[in-house]
């Protein structure tokens, strides 16, 4: 079915308590900020969040808001070091943690979207990661076999979207194009919605056939202001 535009407050109704929820982005960058705020407002509970890392450094920003609001029961990721609140909830066993190395994590998401049965990787051999996977031998060499990771809903972030749901990414797209393939329902938050034909065939990073709903997020200038404030506060610029 064709992707359709809805309001963020309608889009959030597609997510239910106890859902597994992929959130695109990378440790705060390239994250669907408006949709996350909606999830906070809607106070969805017991979510299994699937994200390559936690939210922006220090916590309380983007995904960190879901943490502060105690909406997460399980976190499937490769890194939580940026959010001390999340670490506290993990230590207190309020949130279950499911870790894999970053390259393995994203390959597991890709496998789910690509109809593959697993990921065969040497990364993590000889470490505790061996306990997180099965070991298999191919041509006399050891590998770890991981299962795919899929989700009920993915909320992702792109720069532009056309009326068919085709997404164009600007800059570093990080996990967004991969997560777009691996969830039953895909909601894309974009800076700008344009007419069909304005995004060149070659510039389509996620084809519209993967997208169910698209919502208007912050404009590029608004996002720039949000991140500059964070960076100024953190003495980064």
């Amino acid at each position: 079915m064709m992707a359709i535009q809805i309001k963020p407050e309608e889009a959030v109704l597609k997510i239910k308590d106890h859902d597994s929820l992929m959130i695109g982005g990378f440790l705060g960058a390239g994250v669907p900020l408006v949709m996350i705020d909606q999830i906070v407002e809607k106070n969805l509970k017991d979510l299994t969040v699937i994200s390559v890392g936690a939210g922006y450094r220090g916590g309380g920003v983007d995904i960190g808001k879901l943490v502060l609001n105690h909406q997460i029961k399980k976190y499937i990721t490769s890194h939580v070091g940026t959010d001390p609140n999340l670490i506290k909830q993990i230590v207190a066993e309020e949130v279950a943690l499911d870790l894999s190395p970053m390259g393995t994590f994203i390959e597991r998401v890709r496998a789910a979207g690509a109809g593959l049965g697993g990921v065969v990787t040497p990364v993590g051999l000889g470490t505790e990661v061996e306990e997180m996977a099965d070991k298999i031998v191919i041509d006399g060499r050891d590998y770890l076999l991981f299962k795919p990771i899929k989700a009920d809903v993915a909320i992702i972030k792109a720069a532009r979207c056309d009326r068919m749901g085709n997404l164009e990414y600007h800059g570093i797209a990080n996990t967004n194009p991969i997560m777009a393939t691996a969830a039953d329902i895909v909601i894309a938050e974009v800076e700008e919605i344009v007419e069909v034909g304005e995004i060149k065939n070659e510039a389509v990073g996620t084809a519209g056939i993967f997208v169910d709903y698209y919502v208007q997020g912050y404009s590029f200038e608004e996002r720039k202001a949000i991140y500059e404030d964070l960076w100024i506060a953190g003495n980064k610029i």
């Binding site: 990378f26 890194h79 500059e228 610029i237």
Partner: protein, 215 residues
Amino acid sequence: MGRERIAKRIAKEFKDGMVVNLGIGIPTLSANYIPEGMKVILQTENGGLMFGAAPKRGATNPDWTNAGTEPITIMPGGAVFDLATSFSMIRGGHIDMTVVGALEVDQEGSVASWKIPGKLLTGMGGAMDLLYGCKRVVIAMTHIDKHGESKIRHKCSLPLTGLKVVDTIITDKAVFDVVENGLKLIEIDEDSSLDEIIRLTEGNIVNLDDWKLST
């Protein structure tokens, strides 16, 4: 403090045309010491090649960030890509060198950097992929911890990030290569001495004959 010293020493490992992934902290600092005229292609594992200096206020781009979500610039000739592509690049052996920090390294080239049971819980992030996949692994860290103990061990006591993956260790006091049966001393910092290195290095140094004084 030895941070700048280590960063400068890391920079001596750069070669023209090399593709390098620098870990956060001291390794990233070393980019400031890339020799003039030398082209080192920096990869950031969140999905970029050829990033340059941090931008000024007002000139940032929220879609141009490094793995620490700090603002970066991407230079002409650079490329951006998704995370699966980035880690395929890393794991597939397309990065010439990675320089990362560590809590401990041992004489077998194993390294611990991601976990202190009961204390440090962050997840391994991309570190294991980098250690496994990059053609050359350089560990950059202070020689001793805050208790004065050697961070270069017979055997790592903390959970490993990588088993037998390290090629070179750069500290504020010395440089070692990991060789067949232990460590080969390559360089001693001018403010240190052979005696001190021997005293402060728990791991086996199997070759003490070929070192030089770093300048």
